[in-house]
Amino acid sequence: MTGSEGPGHQVQAIGNDEDVVRVRQLVRTAAVAAKLSLVDQTKVVTAASELARNTLVYGGGGEAAVSTVDNGVRRGVRVVFSDSGPGIADIDLALTDGYTSGGGLGLGLSGARRLVDEFELDTVVGAGTTVAVVKWAR
Protein backbone atom coordinates (compact mmCIF):
# COMPACT_ATOMS: atom_id res chain seq x y z
CA MET A 1 0.00 0.00 0.00
CA THR A 2 2.76 2.43 -0.88
CA GLY A 3 1.34 5.53 -2.49
CA SER A 4 3.31 8.37 -4.00
CA GLU A 5 2.36 11.99 -3.54
CA GLY A 6 5.05 13.54 -5.65
CA PRO A 7 8.79 13.07 -5.88
CA GLY A 8 10.42 11.89 -2.67
CA HIS A 9 7.15 11.58 -0.79
CA GLN A 10 5.82 8.17 0.12
CA VAL A 11 3.03 7.01 2.35
CA GLN A 12 3.14 3.63 4.04
CA ALA A 13 0.10 2.22 5.79
CA ILE A 14 0.87 0.72 9.22
CA GLY A 15 -1.39 -2.22 9.96
CA ASN A 16 0.95 -5.03 11.04
CA ASP A 17 4.53 -6.00 11.96
CA GLU A 18 5.62 -6.19 8.33
CA ASP A 19 4.55 -2.60 7.74
CA VAL A 20 6.85 -1.48 10.56
CA VAL A 21 9.72 -3.13 8.66
CA ARG A 22 8.58 -1.36 5.45
CA VAL A 23 8.56 2.01 7.22
CA ARG A 24 12.12 1.40 8.39
CA GLN A 25 13.19 0.58 4.83
CA LEU A 26 11.48 3.69 3.36
CA VAL A 27 13.10 5.93 5.97
CA ARG A 28 16.48 4.33 5.33
CA THR A 29 16.17 5.00 1.58
CA ALA A 30 15.13 8.62 2.19
CA ALA A 31 17.98 9.11 4.70
CA VAL A 32 20.51 7.83 2.17
CA ALA A 33 19.01 10.15 -0.50
CA ALA A 34 19.31 13.10 1.90
CA LYS A 35 22.97 12.17 2.44
CA LEU A 36 22.72 11.64 6.19
CA SER A 37 25.79 10.10 7.82
CA LEU A 38 25.60 6.42 8.74
CA VAL A 39 25.09 7.25 12.42
CA ASP A 40 22.32 9.74 11.62
CA GLN A 41 20.67 7.25 9.26
CA THR A 42 20.74 4.70 12.06
CA LYS A 43 19.26 7.19 14.53
CA VAL A 44 16.38 8.27 12.32
CA VAL A 45 15.56 4.71 11.24
CA THR A 46 15.55 3.62 14.90
CA ALA A 47 13.30 6.56 15.86
CA ALA A 48 10.97 5.68 12.96
CA SER A 49 10.82 2.08 14.13
CA GLU A 50 9.79 3.15 17.64
CA LEU A 51 7.16 5.57 16.34
CA ALA A 52 5.77 3.15 13.75
CA ARG A 53 5.35 0.53 16.48
CA ASN A 54 3.57 3.10 18.66
CA THR A 55 1.23 3.88 15.76
CA LEU A 56 0.50 0.17 15.44
CA VAL A 57 0.27 -0.83 19.11
CA TYR A 58 -1.21 2.27 20.76
CA GLY A 59 -2.86 3.99 17.80
CA GLY A 60 -4.43 0.84 16.43
CA GLY A 61 -2.70 1.36 13.08
CA GLY A 62 -2.33 4.35 10.82
CA GLU A 63 0.25 5.56 8.36
CA ALA A 64 3.70 7.03 7.95
CA ALA A 65 4.49 9.70 5.35
CA VAL A 66 8.18 9.78 4.48
CA SER A 67 9.79 12.61 2.53
CA THR A 68 13.10 14.33 2.00
CA VAL A 69 13.20 18.00 2.95
CA ASP A 70 15.51 20.89 2.20
CA ASN A 71 15.80 24.14 4.19
CA GLY A 72 18.11 25.81 1.72
CA VAL A 73 21.16 24.94 3.78
CA ARG A 74 20.76 21.30 4.64
CA ARG A 75 18.81 18.32 3.49
CA GLY A 76 16.97 16.01 5.79
CA VAL A 77 14.29 13.40 6.23
CA ARG A 78 10.82 14.12 7.54
CA VAL A 79 8.48 11.40 8.72
CA VAL A 80 4.93 12.01 9.87
CA PHE A 81 3.12 9.25 11.76
CA SER A 82 -0.61 9.53 12.16
CA ASP A 83 -3.29 7.38 13.68
CA SER A 84 -6.95 7.71 14.63
CA GLY A 85 -6.49 5.96 17.93
CA PRO A 86 -7.41 6.97 21.47
CA GLY A 87 -4.92 9.85 21.63
CA ILE A 88 -2.61 10.62 24.56
CA ALA A 89 -4.21 12.09 27.67
CA ASP A 90 -1.03 13.21 29.43
CA ILE A 91 1.69 14.17 26.93
CA ASP A 92 4.32 15.00 29.57
CA LEU A 93 3.84 11.61 31.17
CA ALA A 94 3.95 9.83 27.79
CA LEU A 95 7.27 11.56 27.06
CA THR A 96 8.80 10.48 30.37
CA ASP A 97 11.55 7.87 30.14
CA GLY A 98 10.34 4.58 31.45
CA TYR A 99 6.64 5.39 31.43
CA THR A 100 4.52 2.94 29.48
CA SER A 101 0.80 2.39 29.22
CA GLY A 102 1.45 -0.90 27.44
CA GLY A 103 3.97 -3.64 28.03
CA GLY A 104 6.97 -1.83 26.56
CA LEU A 105 10.06 -0.31 28.06
CA GLY A 106 8.65 3.20 27.93
CA LEU A 107 11.44 4.38 25.66
CA GLY A 108 9.53 4.69 22.39
CA LEU A 109 8.43 8.32 22.44
CA SER A 110 11.09 9.73 24.74
CA GLY A 111 13.89 7.78 23.05
CA ALA A 112 12.71 8.67 19.54
CA ARG A 113 12.64 12.35 20.51
CA ARG A 114 16.30 12.20 21.55
CA LEU A 115 17.31 10.59 18.26
CA VAL A 116 15.90 13.29 15.95
CA ASP A 117 16.43 17.05 15.49
CA GLU A 118 12.79 18.12 15.38
CA PHE A 119 9.91 16.44 17.15
CA GLU A 120 6.31 17.59 17.09
CA LEU A 121 3.49 15.77 18.83
CA ASP A 122 -0.16 16.58 18.26
CA THR A 123 -2.79 14.53 19.97
CA VAL A 124 -6.50 14.77 20.62
CA VAL A 125 -8.03 12.39 23.12
CA GLY A 126 -10.49 10.19 21.30
CA ALA A 127 -9.42 11.41 17.86
CA GLY A 128 -5.83 10.35 17.29
CA THR A 129 -2.17 11.26 17.39
CA THR A 130 0.28 12.73 14.90
CA VAL A 131 4.02 12.73 15.45
CA ALA A 132 6.26 14.57 12.98
CA VAL A 133 10.03 14.18 13.14
CA VAL A 134 12.89 15.62 11.11
CA LYS A 135 16.53 14.58 11.01
CA TRP A 136 18.92 16.92 9.20
CA ALA A 137 22.17 16.00 7.49
CA ARG A 138 25.14 17.49 9.38
Binding site: D17, R28, T42, V45, R114
Partner: protein, 136 residues
Amino acid sequence: MERVPILKIGSVLLVSIQVDMQDQMALQLQEDLGQRIVDTGCRGVIIDITGLDIVDSFVGRTLSTIASISRVLDAETIVVGMRPAVAITLVELGLSLDGIRTALNVERGLELLARNAEPDTFDDLDLLGDPETTSP
Protein backbone atom coordinates in the same frame (compact mmCIF):
# COMPACT_ATOMS: atom_id res chain seq x y z
CA MET B 1 7.01 -16.35 8.51
CA GLU B 2 10.76 -16.68 8.23
CA ARG B 3 12.63 -18.06 11.25
CA VAL B 4 16.07 -17.17 12.48
CA PRO B 5 18.27 -20.30 12.18
CA ILE B 6 19.99 -21.62 15.31
CA LEU B 7 23.21 -23.55 14.66
CA LYS B 8 24.88 -25.89 17.12
CA ILE B 9 28.67 -25.66 17.01
CA GLY B 10 30.29 -27.91 19.60
CA SER B 11 28.73 -26.95 22.92
CA VAL B 12 27.62 -23.52 21.74
CA LEU B 13 24.45 -22.40 19.98
CA LEU B 14 25.10 -19.76 17.33
CA VAL B 15 22.35 -17.46 16.18
CA SER B 16 23.18 -15.16 13.32
CA ILE B 17 20.48 -12.62 12.60
CA GLN B 18 20.74 -11.68 8.95
CA VAL B 19 17.43 -10.04 8.16
CA ASP B 20 15.45 -7.02 9.28
CA MET B 21 13.33 -8.84 11.87
CA GLN B 22 9.65 -8.30 12.33
CA ASP B 23 8.57 -8.26 15.96
CA GLN B 24 6.91 -11.67 15.63
CA MET B 25 10.13 -13.17 14.31
CA ALA B 26 12.04 -11.91 17.36
CA LEU B 27 9.47 -13.49 19.69
CA GLN B 28 9.68 -16.76 17.74
CA LEU B 29 13.46 -16.76 18.15
CA GLN B 30 13.00 -16.34 21.90
CA GLU B 31 10.87 -19.51 22.02
CA ASP B 32 12.99 -21.53 19.58
CA LEU B 33 16.20 -20.74 21.42
CA GLY B 34 14.82 -21.78 24.80
CA GLN B 35 13.78 -25.10 23.30
CA ARG B 36 17.16 -25.65 21.62
CA ILE B 37 19.02 -24.94 24.87
CA VAL B 38 16.97 -27.62 26.62
CA ASP B 39 17.25 -30.09 23.72
CA THR B 40 21.02 -29.73 23.33
CA GLY B 41 22.10 -28.93 26.88
CA CYS B 42 24.35 -26.21 25.48
CA ARG B 43 25.86 -23.91 28.10
CA GLY B 44 26.63 -21.00 25.79
CA VAL B 45 24.69 -18.95 23.24
CA ILE B 46 26.20 -16.47 20.83
CA ILE B 47 23.90 -14.05 19.06
CA ASP B 48 25.59 -12.39 16.11
CA ILE B 49 23.91 -9.11 15.18
CA THR B 50 26.42 -8.04 12.52
CA GLY B 51 23.55 -8.16 10.05
CA LEU B 52 21.27 -5.82 12.01
CA ASP B 53 21.42 -2.21 10.92
CA ILE B 54 19.27 -1.04 13.80
CA VAL B 55 18.40 -2.29 17.27
CA ASP B 56 15.31 -0.57 18.58
CA SER B 57 13.75 -0.93 22.03
CA PHE B 58 11.76 -3.98 20.99
CA VAL B 59 14.75 -5.92 19.66
CA GLY B 60 16.82 -4.72 22.62
CA ARG B 61 14.23 -5.97 25.04
CA THR B 62 14.01 -9.28 23.20
CA LEU B 63 17.79 -9.72 23.47
CA SER B 64 17.60 -9.00 27.22
CA THR B 65 14.76 -11.49 27.61
CA ILE B 66 16.65 -14.15 25.66
CA ALA B 67 19.67 -13.62 27.93
CA SER B 68 17.45 -14.00 31.03
CA ILE B 69 15.73 -17.12 29.71
CA SER B 70 19.10 -18.66 28.82
CA ARG B 71 20.47 -17.90 32.28
CA VAL B 72 17.55 -19.63 33.92
CA LEU B 73 18.23 -22.61 31.63
CA ASP B 74 21.90 -22.60 32.71
CA ALA B 75 23.32 -21.10 29.54
CA GLU B 76 25.19 -17.86 29.07
CA THR B 77 24.33 -15.48 26.23
CA ILE B 78 26.79 -13.21 24.51
CA VAL B 79 25.73 -10.71 21.89
CA VAL B 80 28.44 -10.06 19.31
CA GLY B 81 28.98 -7.98 16.19
CA MET B 82 27.15 -4.80 17.11
CA ARG B 83 27.86 -2.05 14.60
CA PRO B 84 29.27 1.18 16.03
CA ALA B 85 26.36 3.26 14.69
CA VAL B 86 23.96 0.86 16.40
CA ALA B 87 25.84 1.16 19.71
CA ILE B 88 25.77 4.97 19.53
CA THR B 89 22.04 4.95 18.77
CA LEU B 90 21.23 2.46 21.55
CA VAL B 91 22.95 4.58 24.16
CA GLU B 92 21.14 7.72 22.98
CA LEU B 93 17.83 5.87 22.90
CA GLY B 94 18.40 5.04 26.56
CA LEU B 95 18.54 1.28 26.21
CA SER B 96 20.96 -0.33 28.61
CA LEU B 97 20.66 -3.97 27.46
CA ASP B 98 20.49 -5.16 31.05
CA GLY B 99 22.03 -8.50 31.75
CA ILE B 100 23.52 -8.85 28.29
CA ARG B 101 27.19 -9.61 27.85
CA THR B 102 28.74 -8.41 24.63
CA ALA B 103 31.88 -9.19 22.66
CA LEU B 104 33.28 -7.60 19.52
CA ASN B 105 32.90 -10.63 17.26
CA VAL B 106 32.09 -14.35 17.25
CA GLU B 107 35.70 -15.32 17.96
CA ARG B 108 35.91 -13.10 21.05
CA GLY B 109 32.51 -14.35 22.14
CA LEU B 110 33.68 -17.96 21.97
CA GLU B 111 36.83 -17.05 23.96
CA LEU B 112 34.68 -15.40 26.61
CA LEU B 113 32.44 -18.47 26.89
CA ALA B 114 35.44 -20.79 27.12
CA ARG B 115 37.01 -18.65 29.83
CA ASN B 116 33.80 -18.55 31.86
CA ALA B 117 33.01 -22.24 31.49
CA GLU B 118 33.33 -23.93 34.84
CA PRO B 119 35.55 -26.99 34.76
CA ASP B 120 32.99 -29.71 35.19
CA THR B 121 34.93 -32.70 33.95
CA PHE B 122 38.22 -34.23 35.04
CA ASP B 123 39.69 -33.45 31.62
CA ASP B 124 39.06 -29.77 32.16
CA LEU B 125 40.68 -29.95 35.58
CA ASP B 126 43.74 -31.55 34.05
CA LEU B 127 43.95 -28.79 31.45
CA LEU B 128 43.85 -26.14 34.12
CA GLY B 129 46.47 -27.90 36.19
CA ASP B 130 46.46 -28.57 39.91
CA PRO B 131 46.95 -25.26 41.74
CA GLU B 132 48.90 -26.96 44.54
CA THR B 133 51.49 -28.45 42.24
CA THR B 134 51.80 -25.48 39.82
CA SER B 135 52.21 -22.75 42.42
CA PRO B 136 55.82 -22.12 43.45
